[in-house]
């Protein structure tokens, strides 16, 4: 029943946010940031066990571990970027949120470059001549 804990925390935070939003919007943003951090940190343990299972499956299938490591890095960058972008958007700063998303996209593109090169190389091996 971990979802009950999350729901209860979310509802209590919403009530506090409604009270704080009128007088102190800065405090409201900080409170929602702390709520996001708490939920994120508490879910990281479960995410780690999912990733362990995927790693075990990769090892059994004999796949290259480098690809899985890249996918995990991309997941991390995407989660963190989205986390920050939503907080900025919540504070009404659309421009900052868009820049964070842009940076996350560029970093993900850089991380995918080695995989793209590997795909092209295997394609060149397949093609005769």
């Amino acid at each position: 029943m971990e979802i009950a804990q999350v729901i209860g925390l979310a509802l209590v935070t919403t009530i506090f946010l409604l009270i704080l939003r009128q007088d102190k919007p800065v405090m409201a943003i900080l409170l929602s940031l702390v709520f996001s951090i708490i939920i994120f940190t508490s879910m990281m343990g479960k995410l780690a066990s999912i990733i362990d299972v995927i790693k075990e499956l990769t090892r059994r299938a004999g796949l290259n571990y480098f690809f899985l490591a890249t996918i995990l890095k991309i997941m991390g960058v995407a989660y963190l970027g989205e986390f920050a972008a939503v907080i900025c958007q919540d504070a009404g700063e659309q421009a900052v949120a868009k820049k964070v998303e842009f940076a996350a996209k560029i970093i993900i593109a850089v991380l995918t470059l080695p995989i793209m090169v590997a795909i092209l190389e295997s394609l060149m091996d397949l093609m005769p001549g």
């Binding site: 804990q5 925390l9 935070t13 506090f16 009270i19 704080l20 007088d23 102190k24 800065v26 405090m27 409201a28 900080l30 409170l31 940031l33 702390v34 709520f35 951090i37 708490i38 994120f40 940190t41 508490s42 990281m44 995410l47 780690a48 990733i51 490591a69 995990l72 890095k73 997941m75 991390g76 960058v77 989660y79 963190l80």
Partner: protein
């Protein structure tokens, strides 16, 4: 889950908004602004510590 920090921050926010109203009623606008700033800084320090914790966890999970 360490949810007490959430209630601590909500408490600080409500306390500061109430104290601000009291100070504004007593015609002490500057001190009310100072109080708001101090509260924001205190909460920001707590938030930075939590963010450090989060980034350490994410780095260890995703091997970033």
């Amino acid at each position: 889950m360490n949810i007490d920090v959430l209630f601590r921050i909500a408490g600080i926010g409500i306390l500061i908004s109430v104290l601000c109203i009291v100070l504004k009623q007593a015609q002490k606008q500057e001190q009310a602004e100072m109080l708001t700033l101090a509260g924001v800084v205190i909460v920001l320090i707590m938030v930075v510590q939590l963010m450090n914790q989060l980034f350490t966890t994410v780095r260890s999970v995703f091997n970033l």
